[in-house]
Each structure stands twice: as structure tokens, then as C-alpha cells.
Amino acid sequence: MSERPSPIALHKQLDAIWGTPPGLARLSSVNHTILGKRFMALALCFFGIGGLLSMLIRAQLATPDSAFLGPEIYNQVFTMHGTVMMFLFAIPMFEGFAIYMLPKLLGARDLAFPRLTAYGFWCYLFGGSILIVAMLAGVAPDGGWFMYTPLSSKPYTPGINADVWLLGITFVEISAVTAAVEIFVTILKMRAPGMALARMPLFAWYMLVTAGMMIIGFPPLILGSILLEMERAFDLPFFDPTRGGDPLLWQHLFWLFGHPEVYIIFLPAAGALSTIIPVFAQRPILGYRAIIAAIVAMAFLSFGLWVHHMFTVGIPHLALAFFSAASALVAIPTAVQIFAWIGTLASGKPRWDIPMLYVAGFFIVFVIGGLTGVMLAMVPFNTQAHDSYFVVAHLHYVLVGGFVFPMLAAIYYWLPHISGRQSLYRLSIPAFWLILIGFNLTFFLMHLTGLMGMPRRISTYPSNWGWDWLNLLSSVGGFILTMGFALVLADMVLQFRFGARFRRDPWRAGTLEWATATPPPSYNLAAIPHIEVRADQLQPAQIGPALARGDGYLSFAHRGEQETLGVNMVTGAVEHLITLPRRSYLPLWTALATASFFLALLFRLYWLAPIGALVTLGLFLVWPVSLGEKRDKGHIDIGRGVSVPPDAEAADNVTVLANRTALAMNATLFASLLFGGLFLLVVAPNWQDTGAAQVPLWAAALAILAALSGAVLAARARQGNARGGTTHPGLILAILAQLVAMASILAAMLWLDDPTGHARQAVPFVVLGYAGLHCGLGAVMSAHALWRLTRGYISARRQTEMVLGARWNAYAAGAVILAFGLTGILSLGGTV
């Protein structure tokens, strides 16, 4: 048996494997610590930009009849303020935090797909830059952050302003989608051995539920953006009521995302609170199980109340009652969490420090926002207050109270983990008071201006309506708030420069992230621990040095690979060894190719867009070229006398789970598309006496038959491979079958009447296009499996690509059947 290296020697060996070199090589980094910090730093830059825009808004509204900004510029400023704060700050900020924190909290060395993390970051940077450059060029979106049609449709926004929003935000959302899959898979599969679900820290529970919500919540927005962009670019009438579209479809799709989005932002913040509060209360969190139940209840209920944003559009009382009841009821699981936090503090021995100031600020501000939320859930009040400054006040109390105050608490709590230094405190306390007073002065008064009838989004107001002094005080409050944030920024910079160093765990916390050295090394933990108690009641100060000595799993570097562990989703029993890919420039190149696709669409170079898409797909196929094994390895030693198979030889590995997750997300998008088609059929005006959506029966039958054959052939190839049989012919036939299905679907699409004429033709055109695209993807997945098989990466034990091929082909077949099913429904009732 070889002698164990010293902690310093082990550190050097592991850092040589996991580290990122300086200079331009930083662009190739895939390390979650580096990328998490980049996400958060970029999100804070966007927060600064959004804050600057809010100052412009308050300067404009400080006095009546102001000529500071013209209405055109003002429209861009308030639209960009909301867009930047929601899409470029809040979502990426918690994504970055989760990317940085989760592996450390769970006892893993990185996330499940490091290259995907890097790709997501580049998409975020490039997509966000498109929006900011457009704003500097004076062509920023100007239709409000929720881009209602018909205002954002071509006739009323003929420039590229709306395209910038639709394409820029969709580009940025790639990072949200990739992060959701990563977070979901990492939490379920990459915890430290022994960390059963029932032992998982609450922050991981919150992020697991948040990731699940993102998987279901983001596709409707992405679909809505695609449909609106198709209407603007190719005149397909999904939202034009004169041709069978309906502006309300946009509102449904947007708010189906938009309301859960509020909880998607709040839950990670609540996760941070559930971590911080027990530390300062010096006792375990009260109601661990009740909080898990509350998070799940909140997640589901938040999907059942999107229509409360549409109470005034004219919907029947029954539907109003549904959504009103759900909107009020969601306050209960929120209250369960708030009472659990208060109970934890009340029954503990609270010690006050800077993070706790912001926790107190959260309680005050968020509870006010929650109460005005219950007021707005009531239809009669909502009708009165709709689109007034009362709503602006409410949403800022909820979002700033529910996200920014917990974020500031989290910054003061975890920044020492990043910097390795403690806070100076001199600026922290005045900063808090400036923020608390400035925020309430700014936004509490907006309740009053709203109740006095001031509508949102107006750029000026006359001086004789009694709003003058309230607006002036709001603007003064806004500038006080900004001073507070400037002090926080200065405090952060000073902490990095002058803060006192510490060794480990300055707060006497109970979670694993404080067991790392600070700042954390590239590999997080020199050894992976075995967890035997609930993982928010650990003693990091004792565990950390033991892990640095190598007391745990994988406390060696002799294989020269980036290794971490995969566990059973429920019990946390160690199941397999995961070898992660090394740093690479491929994510950057792929994101640049993706950027070319979006820019081509933005500048209407439609010939270039498919090339960008194909290059992106091609680069994605290059990603796994050097990954995988060409021989079965069997069980591999992971230390502590335990051996497990590699990830590639495990049936339920992270790649398979990630693809199942991606397919669930994809299915949500498709379900939203089918819902959209049926919604237009049932609700939209001008559907009488329109031509039926007709496709030839032979094309439908051939497409369904071919797609089903492709699915069966891919599944049989997988089974044959598992038995050690020959699978090449099956895969080749599966590819051919999907190509036949694609061609048949294309023929059916061409058979339809002009899709720009009416939604009855446009909907099947797009639905069939979706199905055809997925037949193509099924063929690509089978071809990929065939290629990997030929190169020797697949065996009866290593069959990941075969599983993926079977799944994607089965999905394609399902999509084809449903697409022709909807087309059939749309052919009924129309004139032939």
C-alpha cells in the first residue's frame, strides 16, 4: 500500500488536475467555482446597469411635466430596467450562486456537466451584451418587460426593438435552461455518500425544487418568444386577432412562466435564509419536514395562479375564482416558512451580525409585499389597482424583499468564503440603514400614488393631481437606496483588500461548504466525506482538516482524472465514479456559433441562421469526441475500501438523467404549443368560415409509421446491444426511418394552405415543423450512437448513447403522433 501524501502534496496533485491556468487559458475554464463567481460578478454588473436605469426613471418622475427624458427614451429605460433586473440580474445571480455553492454544500468536486456550465455562462454574457449594446444604440426594447402583443407586434413596433428582447432574452435563457438541468442532476446524483435526501441541507432542497420549476416554467416563455419572433419575422399570425390569432395567447404563455418566475427567484433566496438563520439562532432549523412540504406546495401552487395578472382582460367568474383562490392560498406555504424562521430565532440564542440585519429587513419588507399580494389576489381590488403604481410597489416589495435583502444577507454571510477574509463592518451598518430607509421611502409611497390613480409606465404627469410630493419623495428615497448599494459595493471591495484572514468556518456553521479551505481550492475537497447525520448539523471546522489530510473517498490523484462520486438518488449510497471532462475552449466556440445564429435572426440574415444552427449542432457533437472509455473497467477503487463502477457503466448515470430532464423540458414546450393551438381554436376570434388545415393522409400515415419504426428500431438496437448482439443495422434503419418521417412531414407542411393567411394553417405548420425537427434529432442521436459504437465507446455495459438514441427516437414518434392529431383537430370545422 502506497504512503498517503501530506495535505500540501495532495493539494498540489489535485490542483494540477482541476486547476485553470492563468492568461488566455482562463477562457477555457469549466470549473464551477470560477464560473459561479463569473456569473455572480456579471449579474452584479447588470444590477448596476438596472439600478442606473431606475435612477433615470426616478429623475424623470421626480417632478411633474418633466422633460428630462422624452417618452421614446423613457419607454426604453423602464422596459430595460425590468428586463435587466429580472432576466440579467435576478435569475443569473441565483444560478451563479448555486453553481458556486452546490457542489461544496453537497460534497462534490464540481457540477455534473462542467462544459455546459461554461456554455451557459457564455450564452448569458453574449445574450446580455446584445440587449445592452442595443440600448446604447438607442434601439432597446420599449414595449414593457412583458412585451404584450399587439404593442410588440410588427405593425406597432416595426423596428428591431422587440426582436432584441425576443432573441436576446431567449439567448440568455439558454443559460437558465442548462443551469436547471445541471442543478437538478447534481443535487439528485452527486451528493456525498451517506447524504440521503432526508439528510440534505434545506438549501439543496430549495434548489432542487427551483430547478424543477425552471424545467417546467421556462419553456412557455421560450415558446412564446419563438412564436412572436416567427410572427414578426415571417408573418405567421399567432397573436393577430384579424387572422385567427389572439393577443391573450401571449399573456397566457408569458405569465405561465412569469408568475412561477417570482417563486423561482424567491426560493433560492429562501434557501439562503434557511441556511443563515439557524447558524445565527445557534440551533437547528425548526420544521425541516414542514419546510420541505411548504416548498413543494408553493412550487405547484405558483403554477396555478398566472391568470391573476390577467384579471381585467375579461374572463368568466369561475376562472377568476380559480385563480383568485390559488393566489390567496399560496400565502400559506410562504407563511409556514416565515413562521419556521421566526420560531427558529425565538427558540434559539440569536446572535446579531451583519447578515442578520438583512434577514430582519427581509422580514419587514417581504411580509408587506406578501400582504399586498393577498390584496391583489382579490378580484375587486385587483380591478381597481390594476396597472397602477400600487402594483409597482407590490412587486418591488416582493422582489426586493424576497430576493435582494436575502441576497445581501447571503453576500455578507458567504463573501468571506469567496474572499477568504472577514467583513470590516464599518460601512456595513450604515449601508443597511440607507438601503432599508431608502427602499421604504421609494416604494411605500408608491402604494399611495397607485391608490390615488397614478398608472404605471407614464413618463409625465400634470402637477394638479396630488402626486407631486409623493413622487418627489419616492425619487429622494431612490437616491438614498442607491447610496446604500454603493456602500455595499465599497464594503465588498474593501473586504477583499483589507478584511482579516481566517482559517475555516468563521460563523460556526453546520454545512459542508465551510469545510473547504477559503478561498476554496479548484477541487473543493481533498477527500469526499461520508455523511452520517443531517448535513446542516455538521462541524466543518473539524471535518475540514480531516478531509484536507485525505480522510475520505477519492483522496488521491494517481489516475490523473477529474473524479467525483455518483450516489443513489434517495438513499445517498455510493453507486458510481464520475469522471468529469477537463477544461476546453469548445463551450466558448459553441456559444459563439450560437451567437451567430441569434445575430443572423436579429439582422434578418435568414440564410445565415441555419448555418449558425448547424455549426452549433456540429460543435455539440464534437464535445464528447475525447470523452468515454473504450473498454469496460468494472469496479474501481474509490478509497475507504470501496469500489464502484464508472459512470459510463452505470445504467442510471448522470447523462441519462440529464437527458430525461431535457426531454421533460422539451415536452413542456411542446405541450405549451399544443395548448396554444387548442386555445386559438376554442377562444380566438375569426375562426368561422376559414379553410380547414388539410394534409394528405398518405403523408400523415407514412410519417407516423416511419417515426414509430425509428423508435422501435432504436429501442431494439439498444436491447440487442445490452445482450451483446450486433446493432449496426438496427441503428442505420432507425436513421433511415426518421429521415423518411422528416420528408413526409415536410411534404405535409408544404401541402398546407398559406400559413401566413390564418392561425388555422400557421399552428399545424409550426407543430409539424417541431415534429419534423425532432425526427431529425432522433436520426442525429442514432447516428451519434452508431459512430460511438463504431469507435468502440459502446459495449453491453457502456450503453449510454444507445439509451439516449432510444429515448429521443421514442420522443420524436410521440411528437409526430400528437402533431398530426392536432392537425386533424384543426381540420375539423373549417371549410374545405
Binding site: A297, G304, A325
Partner: protein
């Protein structure tokens, strides 16, 4: 098959609210379809029926099922979550019994 899947703690944790979500979509769709296609006097009884049908599996899920000791915390959380789903279904879907359907 369903019973085997329900023995998975994560499935059991979300099962009640999954049923709630399906019922929500079905009831909302039935309300819209009934108005669009003029179901007349049948409209409310159909909604009543769907409402009661949704409550059956949710009530069953709200009962404490067999538990495994090593997942005690998850088991309790699942029971509470499923009871919350049942309560949410009763309160949110109750308007199908009295609110005006199409106006």
C-alpha cells in the same frame, strides 16, 4: 406499476400536487370548452363530476402509507404535502359548484 412508482419517496412527495395540477388543467379546459361549444345544462354537472373524481386519488394520497424508517422525514413531508394538495383542491376547485360559468 403505479404502486411501485409511488413507493419512491420523491414520487410520493409530489404525487398529490401532480394530481392537483392535472385536475386544474382539466377543470379549466372543461370550463372553456363548455362555454365555447355550449354544453348548456350539462356544463356544471360535468365540472362537479370532474371535481369529485379529482378528490378521490388525492384523498387516498393524503392517508399515511407504508413508511421506511431511513426515509422517515421524507415520508412525513410527503403526507403533509399530499394533505396540502387535497386542501388546495377543495378550496380552489370549489367555485365550480357555484360561480357563473361563462360570464
Amino acid at each position: 406499476m403505479i404502486m411501485r412508482r409511488l413507493s419512491h419517496p420523491l414520487v410520493r412527495l409530489v404525487a398529490g400536487f401532480v394530481v392537483w395540477s392535472v385536475a386544474f388543467v382539466v377543470l379549466y379546459a372543461a370550463q372553456a370548452l363548455g362555454c365555447a361549444y355550449g354544453w348548456g345544462d350539462w356544463h356544471r354537472p360535468i365540472l362537479w363530476l370532474l371535481f369529485l373524481l379529482a378528490l378521490v386519488p388525492m384523498a387516498w394520497l393524503a392517508l399515511p402509507g407504508p413508511r421506511h424508517d431511513h426515509q422517515h422525514a421524507l415520508h412525513t413531508a410527503a403526507v403533509w404535502t399530499n394533505r396540502a394538495a387535497l386542501l388546495a383542491a377543495v378550496l380552489i376547485f370549489l367555485p365550480v359548484t357555484f360561480a357563473s360559468l361563462c360570464t
